[in-house]
Symmetry: C2
Subunit: 222 residues, 2 copies
């Protein structure tokens, strides 16, 4: 039988999973805004970020309330603290989706990224989608193997980020400085989105095993 | 008379202030590495970031230990939780100093930033120094006015960041794409350094007043 504490903690976990769904949807829509120069998609991502921020505050408030009322110790305590850290990382992923949307809006009706890089950005968005889904599942199931897999998926993001920089720094770049600045920042937003998923994964590994896993180490190196 | 809980909490606060001193020193040294193309300065910043990460883990561990042993409620509880959030932001400031140092190392013996922007970068470093000092003082004194002032200092950082971008996007940029990419990222590292100081300030305002202050709002907009 479940007690009140674990019912409350399940609600916190559900909210974290919901946050991953929200930031995943935001990054997909931001990518459409960017690649299709779709202003209304950009505006909707920017507006919807408030909902992500609000849910993060709810998670924090509920976690503090849990600590005050139930005074958990040991693993239970660690789960509550970890939830707050995860909420912080996932909220930041939402901010990064908003940054992509703002870059799209800033250059509208032009595109912020040269057409020949659209394929790479699209693949970054696909990796972002796999990352948020894997993150949501790992949170829901407290799944260490799933968390470790997140680090591997993020390696693909890093490869794509490097591919973008290879284009930027190659001799054939003829799109000018403005496009270089935009592309630099946008590529970094996707890369950082992945880093925060890895940070969440590292928290799951630590929560379950008591050790900082390779995922957490990976993050601290960036 | 102080009880054990508040003695422990003072130790956490002291560690946070020490962290601000460490990340401040790191950003100053990283700036020297960048502007003087000083490889050993760059290496020392990169190596010393482990110490900042280690102190952050100590703060987290001590905070969790405080929660478990003392089971604080109300304001005491909020202070412990806030300390963990602050540690996260300050650690990230150390990461950003490391990023600046890595950019300097990557281009050594060349400079990563064109000489005519050195003055602006130097001013960003001066603003960064004022920010970490104000942040350390505001943490130590739980000073709301000091925290609000941090937002104003950060406005200067944002102005300098915009000045860099005006140079990048002006017609007179003739330093090529690689320097544009480096300068974009480096300017953003300083700007984000300031954002995290503002986030810490917002936490202080919330801790003391129970309201999200203008500083915290400022952060969530970025």
């Amino acid at each position: 039988m479940r007690d009140a504490f674990h019912d409350d903690l399940d609600k916190v976990s559900d909210d974290l999973v919901e946050m991953t769904t929200m930031v995943g949807a935001a990054m997909q829509r931001a990518t459409r805004a960017l690649l299709d120069a779709d202003l209304s998609a950009a505006e909707s991502v920017i507006a919807a970020d408030d909902d992500i921020d609000a849910l993060r505050r709810e998670v924090d408030d509920r976690a503090v309330d849990l600590l005050a009322r139930q005074q958990p110790v040991a693993t239970d305590l660690r789960m509550v603290v970890t939830a707050m850290h995860m909420a912080s990382d996932i909220e930041r992923m939402g901010d990064l989706a908003r940054h992509v949307a703002k870059a799209a809006r800033r250059r509208y009706p032009d595109g912020a990224v040269p057409a020949e890089l659209h394929g790479t950005i699209d693949r970054m968005a696909q990796v972002a989608d796999r990352l948020v889904k894997a993150t949501g599942q790992a949170i829901a199931a407290k799944d260490v193997q799933g968390a470790v897999e997140i680090g591997r998926i993020d390696d693909e993001m890093d490869d794509l980020h490097r591919a973008i920089f290879a284009e930027l720094l190659g001799h054939s770049w003829d799109h000018g400085t403005e496009a270089a600045v935009d592309t630099t920042l946008i590529s970094r937003y996707y890369e950082r989105f992945g880093d925060h998923a890895v940070a969440v994964a590292g928290r799951i590994v630590y929560l379950v095993t008591g050790r900082y896993g390779s995922s957490a180490e990976g993050l601290s190196r960036r």
